[in-house]
Subunit: 324 residues, 2 copies
């Protein structure tokens, strides 16, 4: 790994490989050039991954930081039912960062983690930007482009009273694993992306999202926590919701019953999909091996209610929000 | 200007206005949705604007920092002949930044400068991301999407021996104005974007770029400096070049003859276009009021030579490169 910007870009270019799929021209010109499938709309999302905010070098294995950086954007594409076309990585490193061998190893691992998930999801890395960072923190911003047949994207705003409320996979695992990581970072140093590590290696639900285009009325990904993301969906759709606490599919990492509901309701970064479907829509119990769970329903008004053992309480958004 | 992330996003959404042009769905969902003009390819570029690296709050008026942030990306679109479709802004602010009134004023000015240029160039702000920054510096990353009729983009790699070498506008003004700014930041506090301020308010050459699609063989924008960007173009095209020093269109800010050539050759951020055209191409002396100047030609080999008063010397890339 070299120390000059141009050498670094050349290495990225080599690792990213030749343009493929929708990418006609990748890294190395003023812009990348993409040709979306004919009759498709283009979807775009951008997500920061900032050291100290979204990852910590003393907690996250380098490959996990890279994986999570890309997974955040892929999950946004999944939530709207899109197929990935290309990723763009803006990366700023502290001055002189690559002079230290340990830093070069970290960077190599970060890119390895990112490119491994990119390959799995057929998402070519087609460009980005590099810079020195103004402080000691590594700064990344990932951009994802995807496509859907014209006008078929899933939106947050299309839920209707009477629709059922569903989630994919299991909830709360990411925040439980994060708590374990904070307690003992070394214990997860050797975690493999092939195993179920909901915080370190979340799996964006791209296939489920694409299938949901013909099943769901509205969708959002659970990045900030179920309570907060359900609030977003309800606000955009101008509806309320009832969530059945006992129906929530708890992740197996949630062994402490007392905390389990808090993790499942408010723990962020599960990167599962929360969606609604009309009562007449035949929602299967699983899609491509991913369980689908009915957790409540959409109602008139704007209240979001949690029902548990016959009792109801208001469900306030208590997930993640930056304090600017 | 509010202090919570969600309130800030809501304000951005209000200021960005309703979706228009190619934008079918803007800020407020997991992704934005764009419909490129039929039969067009999509161009993508991303550029950091990091405080302390790309701008300084004690040097740059807030509106200039916002203008420059967007201009960097627009200039990349211009270099490939594209028409803008949409911009995406990722913005990270230090923790608690918006609690201070002076910071809210700065942020307002930054967005004002960015959105003013966005309006002028018909580039709707369609999304992005917000976060707290890990340090004291403001961190921005701008993403631009544009379009060209399929397969017509200008590339760096298509210059051929015998082609003429041209630039738009004038050179060296941006680095001369930056030097003046460093000397006396207050003197430029009231600079207006309507006047010629090549560093504070560079004008991306979008119209010229679009016209060049039918005139030029290759193009690049001059962001890192003529010597460095010409080197990029020659490397990608596997050619050499001869530059006539006496032909360089010096910016009127270059009053000191001794420094003028250095600014014009190596000063970055002019955001003019450097392009090549075959000998049979009829390149006009101006396009839309922007002067076009013949400054040399493309030759076989890989040497880049500067010719002045009959003497020749090797022109080394001495423009901007980050030290990672």
């Amino acid at each position: 790994m070299a120390s000059g910007e141009l050498q670094f870009i050349q290495q990225l270019r080599n690792r990213a490989g030749r343009p493929k799929g929708a990418v006609r021209l990748g890294i190395g010109d003023d812009c990348a050039v993409l040709r979306p499938p004919s009759g498709h709309d283009v979807l775009v999302t951008t997500d920061f991954s900032l050291e100290g905010r979204h990852f910590r070098r003393d907690w996250h294995p380098a490959a996990s930081a890279g994986h999570r950086c890309l997974a955040r954007g892929l999950s946004d594409l999944a939530a709207m039912g899109a197929q990935p076309m290309a990723a763009f990585l803006s990366l700023a490193l502290p001055t002189g960062f690559t002079r230290r061998a340990a830093n070069r190893t970290w960077l190599d691992g970060f890119l390895g983690g990112l490119l491994h998930l990119a390959k799995q999801t057929k998402t070519p890395l087609a460009g980005g930007d590099t810079s020195t960072a103004p402080g000691d923190a590594i700064l990344a911003d990932i951009v994802l482009l995807g496509s859907v047949p014209e006008g078929t994207e899933l939106r947050r705003s299309k839920a209707r009273p009477g629709d059922g409320l569903y989630v994919t996979g299991h909830l709360g695992g990411a925040s439980a694993e994060l708590a374990a990581l904070a307690k003992s970072p070394r214990s997860l140093r050797k975690a493999s992306p092939a195993d179920d590590h909901p915080h370190l290696y979340p799996q964006p639900q791209l296939r489920v999202g694409q299938r949901l285009r013909s099943l769901a009325s509205a969708a959002i990904d659970i990045s900030d926590g179920l309570s907060t993301d359900l609030t977003h969906l309800c606000e955009e759709s101008r509806v309320g919701a009832i969530v059945e606490a006992d129906s929530l599919p708890l992740h197996q990492l949630l062994t402490n019953k007392k905390d389990a509901l808090q993790h499942a309701l408010h723990g962020g970064e599960d990167y599962q999909l929360l969606f609604t479907a009309s009562a007449t829509s035949k929602v299967p119990r699983s899609i491509g091996g991913i369980p689908i769970t009915h957790i409540g329903q959409i109602v008139r008004g704007k209240d979001i209610t949690l029902r548990s053992n016959g009792k109801t309480e208001r469900l306030e958004p208590a997930g993640w929000e930056h304090s600017l």
